[in-house]
């Protein structure tokens, strides 16, 4: 498995997203310009210029027409995927951290960081089919959790919103009323900041990665803890194979603590685990810094990782990978 190294960003990567067809890969980094690549050969297609701060997160519509990006410049922007034209900009009083489009692409959930006096919040915005009708009003705003909300995604049938962040608690909210429905257990849940959250392809379960060196698999409806995967390093990014029962965890020693003695000290590996048996299968090395972002191609035959080192590494699996037995 020889990876394709994609050098298009000048700052650490923050997020990766494939479109539904799996032919495009969108990458976000701290360098203000989200980039789109051919997911097959790693060729760069174009960039989306307009943000004035680190871009933390993005999502792409089911028909691959729209891209939504959230940035530290306190705005969330809608883009035309094809032309790179900015269609709309939602402005907030604080940096936007996470964005996720609902089933049907008519709603988006956006989280904002605590900033100055305002606490962190989850916003739900209406997305219009025609950009000229687009307004910036929030359908719903939820406040409550302490600290940053690092990820928020839609639950089944857009009825719930799942959020996780610095307070190490996973919460499920009613997306109509904004009521808190469920909260993860302090005992069994994460002990430190949850850095990432990724839904399975069909949405039945989701995986959270945390700085407590573990990742946990939860039931999307009941918020029951199903599995725990333990590693040796803080987890920054998680992804699940849509094809096989594999989960992949990325992370590593915090960049500010990286030792100078040995490259292995940081453990900047993407680790593969068996989803059901919770056993480690293998690892993919290569990054010079912690892995910040991971994404699986929807066909399950390739995945990409984005690191603190500014590289996106695109890996197409060898045929051996599909025959792994443990």
């Amino acid at each position: 498995m020889r990876p394709i190294l994609m050098k298009g960003h000048e700052r650490p990567l923050t997020f990766l997203k494939y479109n539904r067809d799996g032919d495009l890969l969108f990458s976000c980094a701290k360098d203000h310009t989200p980039t789109v690549w051919f997911a097959d050969n790693g060729e760069r297609l174009g960039t989306y210029r307009g943000h004035n701060g680190a871009v933390w997160c993005c999502d792409v519509s089911r028909d691959s027409m729209r891209l939504i990006t959230g940035s530290a410049d306190q705005s969330v922007k809608l883009w035309n995927v094809q032309t790179g034209e900015q269609l709309y900009s939602f402005n907030f009083g604080s940096p936007a951290r996470a964005v996720d489009l609902a089933v049907g692409d008519k709603l988006a959930v956006i989280t904002t960081d605590p900033f100055m006096d305002s606490p962190s919040a989850i916003h739900v915005k209406q997305i219009s089919r025609d950009p000229s009708d687009q307004t910036g009003e929030s359908v719903l705003t939820i406040k409550g959790p302490q600290g940053r909300i690092n990820r928020a995604v839609w639950g089944p049938l857009n009825k719930t919103i799942i959020s996780a962040g610095e307070d190490a608690v996973v919460r499920i909210w009613d997306s109509e009323t904004g009521k808190l429905l469920k909260e993860s257990d302090k005992e069994s849940g994460h002990k430190k900041t949850i850095t990432s959250l990724s839904k399975s392809a069909e949405g039945s379960h989701f995986l959270t990665g945390s700085l407590d060196k573990s990742a946990k698999l939860w039931d999307t409806r009941t918020l029951t803890l199903i599995k725990t995967y333990v590693t040796e390093r803080p987890v920054n990014a998680v992804a699940m194979s849509p094809l096989l029962d594999h989960v992949v965890l990325g992370g590593g020693q915090d960049a500010s603590h990286v030792t100078t003695t040995d490259h292995r000290a940081g453990k900047f590996e993407a680790k593969f685990f068996d989803r059901i048996l919770q056993e480690e299968i293998g690892g993919v090395k290569g990054h010079f810094g912690p892995i910040n972002a991971l994404a699986f191609n929807p066909d399950g035959k390739s995945f990409s990782s984005g690191g603190e080192d500014g590289y996106v590494r695109l890996h197409h699996f060898d045929s051996d990978y599909f025959n792994i037995k443990i």
């Binding site: 089933v103 392809a201 069909e202 039945s204 040796e232 849509p242 000290a265 059901i276 929807p298």
Partner: protein
């Protein structure tokens, strides 16, 4: 004083709850720190009752000095002046703190006085320093603490025979040795927890024995034969052990104890503390107590300034090197010794006093060590003026010099005893002729042979730096890591050669190894060549009998390596000196990784030592000969366990899979139910094909070339 229950209430409550109060050890109950449940303890009451907490409580800072001269009034001032002069050197006497009563009838002093110091510490010091002070021939001070007054008053006039408490047999403190599977125990400390575990290598995991949070305040330590586990606390040290679990067996009061050390036969416990002096220019005050482990009685205490205990022989760092008291080898715990300026003080444990009532005078001595088995001292005295440096062996208690060797132009010396006390190796660093650099040689003493022959031994390249030296335990071989390059060489030597000519024989040299430390198996034969620190934890498991490498491995960043007492397993650990990777690995003796446990903030890993085997060497040899007969049984057992394990493993996996499938089907059902709703959300788009990807193998045949050839065929 809110909810203080009366004893009666407690009894009724206990009755109601069905608790037998007689079985409850009330002393063992302690409240969590910082929590008092509204119950004020008595001593707190005293503290809070006083308006001024600065107010002195008790008379701890007052001493009584007896045996003073009895003087008439005219001489009163003079005597007072003398006393004040003596005692104001030691501490600050309070204003009006010196009171010498006068007999109203005779108008003479009564021969004693009271002195009040600023602090109890000073009073304590004054008592220590001046008790027995000779003012003149007939006036020898007897100094006591005022607080002890009561104790002396209560001494009955008549001797009464002590009451005999009937003998109660204790629990079997060596119960762990009777483990059916002959496993070994170890203790680990991680975070605030201290845990004792079995090393269950067959099941490839540790089995918990006992766990306790905040068991110790700084570290834990096994006694040399493994009977006790010592913990240290602010008030003193404690030892734990027992048949089924870890009970506290004894406590040893020693405020602010810092270090502890057992005698090799674990009869005595030496505790050490060092206290900041009141005057910052003074050296720290050092208190050392020697306790009898079983009775908890103080056998002897030593107090003094840190300078008295520092071995400053080389004039280097002034510090106390632990252990201050080194015990002579053997199980009898007969002698212990410490080094002082130009002396070595050897004590014996029958009376806890110096042998022959005087220390051994050895001019300029800097280092000594006991033979691990016999009462033999090895001393090193560096060069001084015209006298050459020398190493000598001395028999105790006769103080006869068994052997002596003079050495010239020595810069430093280190002594290594072989574990049976058969050999002593002295590593000697000598100056070259220019005195600019040093080179290293060895003096090897054969202690068991007649007249103790000494052999001078040098490496082939005698300029090689010696990185490590280690004797094979119970054996006759030693290993040396030497060389200057980043990848040093390792050589093995034997003290026996084929025709027994008493000559050191070289066995082999391994070139260019990433190693800087040697760890012999406690049974000999196997050694781990380890590259710690700069080498990031390289491990090589080497068989010295066959002179071959059994395995090479790595425990990344490993800081500690410990063989289990039987030499079957090895633990390598990364302790909290590193931030990451904390935890330990257990390996078999031949370098197979058995299991790996990760623990954040990992501080200590210690195998529980075992007492020496009772088998005679002949019996051991016999067992080794018939090993096949014995091992059959165990091999069968091992196989059963491994079968069971893999069976369990399969079963577990099957369960997990089933559980998962059940859960997934439930989800699919719900998902199907919601299909229509989802379509509406997508404006009627039917495609709902999130799960429709499948891995399919498609074989594609491509014809590259077709060629025809006519072959002639003969029959």
């Amino acid at each position: 004083m809110a909810d203080v229950m009366l004893m009666k209430e407690i009894e009724t409550t206990a009755d109601r709850l069905g608790i037998d109060l007689s079985t409850v050890d009330l002393d063992s109950i302690s409240l969590p720190p910082g929590q008092d449940f509204g119950i004020l303890s008595d001593d707190e009451d005293v503290l809070q009752g006083g308006d001024n907490p600065e107010l002195d409580i008790g008379f701890g800072n007052i001493i009584i000095v007896d045996n003073l001269p009895v003087v008439p009034r005219e001489k009163f001032d003079k005597l007072e002046g003398v006393i004040r002069k003596i005692y104001s050197q030691i501490g600050v006497i309070k204003e009006d703190g010196l009171w010498m009563p006068i007999d109203p009838e005779t108008q003479k002093t009564l021969g004693y006085c009271f002195i009040e110091f600023n602090s109890p510490l000073e009073a304590e010091l004054a008592r220590e320093k001046t008790n027995g002070y000779k003012l003149d021939r007939s006036h020898i001070f007897a100094v006591n603490m005022f607080d002890e007054f009561d104790t002396f008053m209560k001494v009955p006039d008549k001797w009464a025979p002590p009451e005999f408490t009937p003998y109660t047999s204790g629990e079997n403190l060596q119960h762990w040795l009777t483990d059916e599977k002959a496993r070994d125990q170890f203790v680990i400390r991680a975070g605030s927890d201290t845990e004792v575990l079995w090393n269950d290598a067959r099941h490839l995991k540790p089995e918990p024995v006992y766990k306790r949070a905040f068991w110790t305040e700084s570290f834990v330590q096994w006694s040399p034969l493994g009977t006790y586990l010592a913990t240290v606390h602010r008030q003193g040290a404690a030892v734990w052990g027992g048949a089924s679990t870890f009970n506290r067996l004894m406590r040893y009061a020693h405020p602010q104890v810092k270090l502890v050390d057992f005698s090799p036969g674990e009869r005595y416990l030496v505790t050490y503390s060092s206290h900041e002096p009141s005057n910052p220019r003074d050296a720290n005050r050092v208190v050392i107590n020697i306790f009898d482990v079983r009775t908890g009685k103080v056998m002897r205490d030593f107090k003094g300034s840190a300078d008295d205990f520092a071995i400053g022989g080389t004039g280097g760092v002034a510090g106390v090197s632990w252990p201050v008291f080194r015990w002579a080898g053997g199980k009898e715990d007969k002698y212990f010794a410490r080094i002082g300026k130009n002396i070595i003080s050897v004590y014996e444990t029958e009376t806890f006093s110096l042998i022959d009532k005087k220390s051994l005078k050895v001019e300029n001595v800097v280092d000594f060590c006991w033979s691990p088995t016999d009462p033999i001292l090895a001393l090193f005295v560096p060069e001084l003026g015209d006298h050459p440096a020398r190493v000598s062996l001395m028999q105790i208690p006769s103080k006869d010099e068994l052997r002596q060797k003079n050495l010239f132009s020595v810069s430093d010396c280190k002594m290594y005893w072989q574990s049976n006390g058969d050999y002593l190796a002295v590593k000697v660093d000598r100056y070259t002729k220019t005195k600019k650099s040093t080179y290293t040689g060895f003096e090897l003493f054969r202690v068991r042979e007649r007249d103790i022959p000494i052999e001078v031994f040098e490496l082939e390249n005698k300029n090689d730096k010696i990185i490590a030296f280690a004797w094979e335990p119970k054996g006759h071989r030693f290993a040396v890591i030497h060389g200057d390059n980043p990848r040093p060489d390792i050589s093995f030597y034997s003290m026996r050669s084929a025709n027994n000519t008493d000559k050191v024989k070289k066995l082999t040299t391994l070139k260019g190894k990433q190693a800087n430390a040697l760890f012999w198996s406690p049974t000999g034969r196997f050694v781990i060549l380890a590259g710690l620190k700069g080498f990031n934890g390289q491990l090589e498991f080497y068989n010295v009998d066959e002179l071959e490498t059994m395995a090479t491995a790595e425990h990344f960043m490993a800081t500690d390596i410990e063989w289990d007492p039987t030499g079957r397993y090895v633990a390598t650990a990364v302790t909290s000196v590193h931030e990451m990777e904390n935890g330990f690995n257990i390996w078999s003796f031949n370098g197979k990784l058995l299991y790996r446990i990760l623990k954040d903030h990992f501080f200590q890993f210690l195998w529980r030592p075992r007492p020496p085997s009772f088998l005679s060497p002949e019996k051991e040899e016999e067992i080794a000969k018939n090993l096949k007969k014995y091992s059959k049984k165990y091999e069968a057992e091992d196989q059963d366990v491994s079968m069971l394990l893999s069976e369990q493993d399969r079963e577990k996996r099957r369960m997990l899979k089933e559980e998962w499938d059940k859960w997934l089907n439930e989800w699919k059902r719900l998902h199907e139910e919601e299909k229509l709703e989802r379509q509406t959300l997508r404006d009627g788009e039917v495609s709902d094909e999130e799960e429709e990807y499948e891995a399919k193998e498609v074989e594609v045949e491509e014809i590259l070339d077709v060629s025809e050839e006519v072959l002639s065929f003969e029959e």
